[in-house]
Amino acid sequence: MTATTEVGGPGAGRAEVGKARLRKEDRHLITGRSRFTDNMVLPGMLHLAMVRSPYAHAKITAIDVSAAKASPGVMAVLTGADVAAEQGSLPNAWPITPDQKAPAHGAIAVEEVAFAGEVVAVIVARTPAAARDAVELVDVSYDELPVVMDLEEAFTDKVLAHSSLESNKSATWVFDSAEAGTGSSVQEAIDNAEVLIERTFYQQRLIPAFMEPRSTVVDPTGEQITVWTSTQIPHILRLMLALTLGIPESKVRVIAPDVGGGFGGKLQVTPEEAITVLAARRTGKPCKYTETRSESLQAGHHGRAQVQRLKLSATRDGTVTGLSVNLLADMGAYLGLVTSGIPILGAFMYNSIYKFPAYRFECNNVFTNKTWTDAYRGAGRPEATFAIERLMDELATELGMDPLAVREKNWIRHEEFPFATVAGLEYDTGNYEAATSKAVELFDYQGLRAEQKRRRESNDPIQLGIGVSTFTEMCGLAPSRVLGSLSYGAGGWEHAQVRVLPTGNIEVVTGSSAHGQGHETAWSQLVADRLGVPFENVEVLHGDTQISQRGLDTYGSRSLTVGGMAVLAAADKVIEKAKVVAAHMMEASEEDIEFTAGSFSVKGTDTSTSLGEIALATFAAHNLPDGFEPNLDSDATFDPVNFSYPHGTHLAAMEVDTETGRVSIRKYVCVDDVGVVVNPMLVEGQVHGGLAQGIAQALYEEAVYDDAGTLVTGSFVDYLVPGAPDLPHYITARTETPATSNQLGAKGVGEAGTIASTPAIVNGILDAVRHLGVKDIKMPCTPSRVWHALQAAQTTGGVQ
């Protein structure tokens, strides 16, 4: 059990940690000095354009490239057949079961295409326009095959998404608390249930929709192949490109320059990246590919896309006794880097903050003829949180209880931490009481309930509902051993180096790969405090495998809790090293050296020396202790012992215009507990952006296909990403219950808002219209869906 403080807690005493520093990164970004991949221009550079399949499922019977090859400016046209021998199969690093099935996945389709937008040929030309023009001249003959677009239909295997596979089922993964020894039998809980809530929820397909479309530049002209690419994962990409294309890893350098957002959408080894490397090697010239927004929406990986069949058992006093989850997860046409593991990341979170004793999770991963899915902000955990938070509201309704009371009855009490969960995790700390009571107070919960009652009684055309979402998530991916036990292909550590230069300035090299989060600012604050140097004297280097040689990059809210801890560990090693030199220089024993605020002093004397002086001495190396290696730097690799578990309480007051079905957010309060905060402004930014994306799932976004397999929401005219005017003024606050799994007490904040907000919004909408007979509304809750639900409820007398 750890003490919880309101904001301004443990971090506030330090000089830098806890300070709302403006971001170091912003000056160049907002003065037009950004360097995104598409800004790269290399001498003699060629440009790529992709020929993409208009069909969702077809055999390629012939490709005639002669006209394209003859087109002005065209240097080469490559088809799947041309590169079949060297393109390999794009990686899936997470085979969740030993018998997982997956189709081969060449970057360019060779015989068959399995989703609309799959690359069938690539044009390499002197200018982007010449490349684009030649796309029209490639004549591809297809034999159309039947398509399977609907997930539940795909599960029946009536139509196969790939003719090379005998079934659309990729893998089945089961967790059962009775078998795992973490709890009792769900079947028994269901058999003995006094109340049984059975629901099916649909997690619609979403598109990450990062601001900077993906772009790759490859220079093959040196000893090494250099790849600039808009990615979250330069380190993983380097390894995977080497393995996929059979290039020695030492010959590949990957650079992620400025990257304009990712949200999981750039946690991928993309066909387009592999193709750009292949084209550069073929032509011997630098090559660039930058996708259009339409290509990005069509062929960048999607997220969510699950059907959740749920059974929650409880006693009549509102105590939950068990939960059974049966999931269908839409892989789309292929398995990307971690596609298959996304639902598994959710498997540990369906029990959320509750302590019910029995849990069973079964997931069936299924192929369809849609763009493949993979990580999207929250990755598995938003789906899980949505399911359990919707169910808790359904249980409250069934029992006539207040939704907060039902949650409180079931959540892990503050004094019960650390707590071993039914899903097999150990939550180190948490204080759901503190976050909830603060949220209730900021929200004016009682006042809004009273208004809700008045509106109901007066039959007001604008009805009011209150949506509750208490959530937790597992962050800080991840302890390597745990990843090993889940058959993931790599570890979850992070690497850092801290170098004290002869001038006393500090260089921090991090394996985390920032793409908008503000790592340079946060890492500078961490190191400034730890080494007692000014914030301005710290330089953070990242995103280039030649500068940051080791790393596992940025996703899963892992940067601070894993990468930041590696930075601190490296700084601590530097201090230990410096102490040896300080003792030598001041002719004292090492035990008597004290380090505070950048200065080493001899206990009980006024003799002292600074970190800068020591750095210069270690550089000159004229007078160092015997055996001391010159220079003052250190490496550290941090492998977390546990996940971290941010949590919070989100409350949404939703207004539903019953005449038009339009919903609006009247008030949104969130109290997040992300542990110790390094920079409150960065946290606030992450919370706001996260909320926007979670709200977008509830109200606005959905990737829609027609029956033939064409993406209907193929541009931002139809794929509706909300803008600032569509979102409310959030009331955000924090409590701080430090994590015990890392020395700073931080927990991670990158995904919190996205995970928590979706169920808060939907619960709020249903709370507003349930008394009118509406039981559920599919996401996104568009005005027309809400209105139709109200109509249906009216005509069927409340049963829908």
């Binding site: 982007p128 339409s294 005449e659 038009t660 569509d726 209105w787």
Partner: protein, 287 residues
């Protein structure tokens, strides 16, 4: 987002522009007139249109601006949306037009996109056609044989189709003044910057406690903008009360043929038309 190659001409007079159109036409070239480019360029970039020649009207003087002709205003076809939304003459005499123009897209698009372009483009979900129809404007079209004037009622002929024929240019729009009328454009969208799912252009003239006259135009309730004549008739002489207005607006979907799409099906649109018409008229009447 790269369009096919095309030739480009920027004439400085209407005559020169018409000459270029005629020449291209007789050479069998596919020629397009470019106004603000806010609709034409996106479809060219998506290669849904690939004209071999583009004639830019942007350098022609006299096609932009607002003039007072006594009992009507004349608005140049090349007048950008933001001018329509903010011009004092329009605000005073054609408040409906100003209000509708202010709902078009975002400030960038409103500074580039033009009033005439929006009318010739004739997107069923576009916001400017319905007010123009409701106000009974006259559209002046220049062609090889000189100018002709077309009533708004005859101008919008179908899905993205107007009375402007190939080789012609819409030069200006003459709108009778509606000084003193109450006006409101009620636009329904899912996100703040979006084409209308349904839009209602409403104008009322109030005399004493009754509505003397009303004019309503419907956006996106068919392949062309429509007049809600049944509502107009029901409102004429109706009491200035919420009940009377609501009752009249139940006729708003009569004669409409709305499409079904991701934003809503036809049934929903018909329902919206009634609710939004009521809201638009209430707002126009200052209730």
């Amino acid at each position: 987002m790269i369009p096919s190659a095309f030739d480009y001409a920027a004439p400085t007079t209407v005559e020169e522009a018409l000459g270029l159109l005629a020449a291209a036409d007789s050479a069998g070239d596919d020629v397009k007139v470019l106004a603000g480019g806010q609709s034409l360029l996106p479809v060219m970039k998506l290669r849904m249109a690939d004209p071999s020649m583009v004639v830019d009207l942007g350098r022609i003087t006299g096609l932009s601006g607002v003039t007072d002709d006594g009992d009507s205003l004349t608005i140049g076809a090349m007048t950008p949306h933001h001018v329509v939304a903010s011009d004092p003459l329009i605000a005073r005499h054609l408040p409906l037009l100003a209000k509708a123009a202010a709902t078009v897209a975002d400030p960038q698009v409103r500074h580039r996109g033009t009033f005439g372009g929006a009318l010739v483009h004739a997107d069923p979900a576009g916001d400017m056609p319905a007010p123009v129809l409701a106000m009974g404007a006259t559209l002046v079209i220049a062609g090889p044989n000189g100018e002709r004037s077309v009533d708004a009622a005859d101008f919008f002929q179908g899905y993205f189709t107007t009375a402007v024929r190939e080789g012609e240019i819409l030069t200006r729009i003459r709108v009778p003044k509606f000084t003193g009328w109450g006006a409101h454009y009620e636009k329904f969208t899912r996100v703040s910057q979006q084409w209308s799912i349904v839009g209602i252009a409403a104008m009322v003239r109030v005399e004493g406690g009754t509505i003397a006259e009303a004019r309503l135009g419907l956006t996106n309730m068919a392949s062309t903008p429509l007049r809600a004549t049944a509502v107009e008739q029901a409102l004429a002489g109706a009491a200035l009360t919420a009940e009377a207005i609501a009752a009249a607006c139940l006729h708003a979907a009569e004669g409409t043929e709305p499409a079904s799409d991701l934003n809503g099906d036809a049934e929903y649109r018909r329902h919206l038309a009634q609710v939004l018409a009521k809201r638009a008229v209430l707002a126009a009447a200052g209730l």
